[in-house]
């Protein structure tokens, strides 16, 4: 697969790293231009007393680990995406026009989180005519479609772990999914499923093979 311009979108800081951090590392290694956009800095997910822009800082530190300096952080309040649905759509259309991606990574059709569902739905609407994959956040899904397995190298997995280590606030809150052993377990599990040493798994929402 050769992609030149890849856009990854998520609802909140850390969604993108959790869902497709390994693939982003691989695409970066392979020379693709990356743009990462999240719509909320998730102020409500902070420990008491933390500065309101703490998660935005952690996200920017994580992107520095990846080597991506082309990022967007929006200001939609957590759990309020549905009231801002049209704003999310307008921003996605702006991103599509400005960045002209040949691949978009977005939230899964089976993700039950209210904000994630909005990003998924609006991605369907914004990115017609572009290949569109859905990354998984397994703790939010009642079912999963095992469409596409992306092989990761050990270095890709290490980059994913290092990106998530930037989220100290979430580790302090005891979120299991940012723990290195959980991230590695997911890569080993999806790898065994796809007959690969290490992998991430994706839903194929739409693919377009232009002539």
């Amino acid at each position: 697969m050769k992609f030149h311009r890849v856009l990854a979108v998520g609802a909140h800081t850390d969604d993108v790293e959790l869902g497709c951090g390994g693939l982003l590392s691989r695409l970066h290694r392979e020379g693709a231009a990356l743009h990462v956009a999240v719509f909320s800095r998730a102020e409500q997910s902070l420990p008491d007393g933390a500065p309101v822009d703490e998660l935005e800082k952690e996200f920017r530190a994580s992107m520095a680990v990846l080597g991506c300096d082309d990022v967007y952080v929006g200001t939609v309040p957590v759990r309020n995406f549905d009231a801002n649905r049209q704003h999310v759509l307008d921003e996605l259309i702006t991103l599509k026009r400005a960045f002209a991606p040949d691949l978009v990574l977005t939230m899964n059709s089976a993700d039950t989180h209210q904000d994630h569902a909005v990003v998924h739905q609006e991605s369907l609407r914004a990115f017609r005519g572009v290949s569109l994959l859905g990354y998984e956040l397994p703790w939010n899904q009642r079912h999963s479609a095992n469409d596409l397995f992306v092989e990761l190298t050990e270095a890709d997995l290490e980059t994913k772990v290092a990106m998530l280590e930037a989220y100290r606030t979430q580790a302090d809150l005891g979120r299991p999914y940012v723990r290195p052993d959980v991230i590695r377990a997911a890569a080993v599990f999806r790898g065994a499923q796809g007959r690969l040493p290490l992998a991430e798994m994706y839903e194929v929402i739409a693919e377009i093979w232009r002539a």
Copy 2:
């Protein structure tokens, strides 16, 4: 997308051309090695009095139009694939080992024809670890998943039409789906759906992106 070795499998002569003739033309243009395997020469689908190997001859003529000389024609009787399920699986495994494809095109999970269902099921079992797409034969499907749109050039469509013109026995029997206007209508319809001038549509059964 870059594929180097592409295997297309079908139950009967003419399945492969109808389902993925345009993509095969495109892949051939782009330099991929092709292997086309069908399991039955469909003697029961001939007009009265036709030689029993007539459809095999038409298939070979069709493959000559495509420019593919690497073909396999099996001898499973029409509508008897389920009694020969293990034979079909063994042959698919042999093909996989001999040809080492990086992409396999096979029958759709929604195809209700009894022989097609066998080829689909056994493909799932034989081609673990290889990217696997399902082509559509719309008159056999109660539903369809619009996963992947492959853009065709006008030349690809003309090659597909020409391949199917080799099946004079089927045209004589009045089968609508080998008619040039029906083949073109499908490409225009799937193209409009995928925001492309002309297209074929595929189910993504499994994709593997090796590192």
Copy 3:
């Protein structure tokens, strides 16, 4: 099938013609009373400088081609149907009581357009106890259920094409789906699938056969 009072509903002008123009032509020929309701005159889908009621005029011209003078045009803004969900439902309930349809044609459960999804959902709620079919707008669907094939005559298809020729603004904007060759291709494709010369395809949302 004998229906006496048929209500077709759509989000925007031209949805109904694209989805079920052929069936409406057939029902009109067969003597059914028709009512066509759309909720938005889609001002945002106009070329720059066009009068704001241009699409409403085109819709009325299209309905004149059909021979239906019983129409409703609402004023919900494009892409804002979800904020007006209850208004749409109330209007549908009013239509149901006033027109007493024995068949309702509405948007498909698989249509991903945000406004179309609202019309579909509210139709489910408004039309309990009435037969309800979903027409297809294929470029908005990730999958389709091929439940019901309606045979069209050549005259029905020509009426459908002529209705859509009333939408000069959309043709000028290069929308492929109003092109006569695309409309005909869809009818030929769905016809071949249903073993008919020409057809439209519908999702059966609910059917009621009263004693």
Copy 4:
């Protein structure tokens, strides 16, 4: 709905009455020609010591209650339909040609009984181009699609109960589903669901509305 020639098929004696006895009564009242075909006289479902043709006699008595004298009883052994799949298909094709139905009632796509699944699958293959409904046998289904509700009159329900009272062997074996109160409960339940006093519920497998 107007149907003139209706074919009902089932795996075993009593399947058809249980699944669509009420609709058959209604169609008979409305003047349709009926043909009822079952593929097995279910010798293994008899009490010890009963004559091997007892269920066939009960079936014929049941059909006499309905007023249908155009029946077919096959000899496929219970739970052995898959080994006789091609025979079932051939018989269905013969029935289609001989009777030329405009509506076929068959087993549901969600029925998990091994013999029922064969009759369903082969019906899909045999009856392309004909409207095809799936009746429910709820104790065999893990899920159900509530597509179509057929209103029954009190007389239709009484005919259904009377048909099933012909199956004294099954009542003696304590099968709950032939009990009048269970049959009535199903009609009341499906009626309340469809906003009708009494109903049967059907899956729409395929509908064709010919011009």
Copy 5:
């Protein structure tokens, strides 16, 4: 099954009794602590002239029949739950923390009523990590998953009927689903399906078996 603390949630007064009144009776008999929460007293569903709190009174009378005095009645307007989505979620999270249920009964994923869909979606989000079952309101569902059958005793069914007899306003409005014969028919139908004398049927949304 042993549950100690069971929370049942519904959109409107009478939803919970209709969907899971029999299971609540059984759990109460077996000694579980029950909490029942509904978000709307459904003022718009009253006959003209009835006091605005009439349905709340009927709900409380129904709960007295059950023997549950731990109830919550919210004030969300009927058909306006989507505008109050976040409020519903916040209340569910409060209930979860205060009551600490080991089983939650909520609305089904297939329920098409706009308010019911909100309660279902927000339950998914609020009750991660707790066993969660969806009860059925069959007249609102296009399909059903027959996952779990709960056997009821005759006494449980009588309690369910008696609870619903408290809703005199709904009986006066002619709602069929509060009629004793309809409630009994549902229990007999689901019982026959589950090979039980009387039953309620549930969707398994999520189950957690803690060590």
Copy 6:
């Protein structure tokens, strides 16, 4: 959850351990009587030169680790289960009558392996009226339903690993899924998904809660 008699069935030796080894360990700890039945000793899955009963010996060693001495090993040839479908069903019915389980663990509805599909289908038919869960073999599934999460203790996971260490022939053949790190990764991944430290995940095929 309290179960007293639990039957686990699989197609081949090692299926049961891989799919539900942790839950069997937990149930054994909790005092349930266990019966484990597999239909094939999988002679074709052995390294060249291995004794034909080697996998049966490994299975019995594995069961000794679990502490279960009530086992059944059938003689159906690998990949030939469909020709022996009725035999599998008859054996399952015999097991049901002899062991009278209140819980059955069987293969998943989404498992694409030809033999596994037979065991799943026949389990549906044999175990009506009994609670039935489907365990996962992730490398055989195109999708998964995340219905039920079973918490495992560290000791349960260690027992599962130890059971699979009995399969030295499979480790020698390099099968990744018997590797301790892969087994642990699956338990950590499913645990994080279910908000538990360690877990196995199950499909709920049917549950019955008897009064």
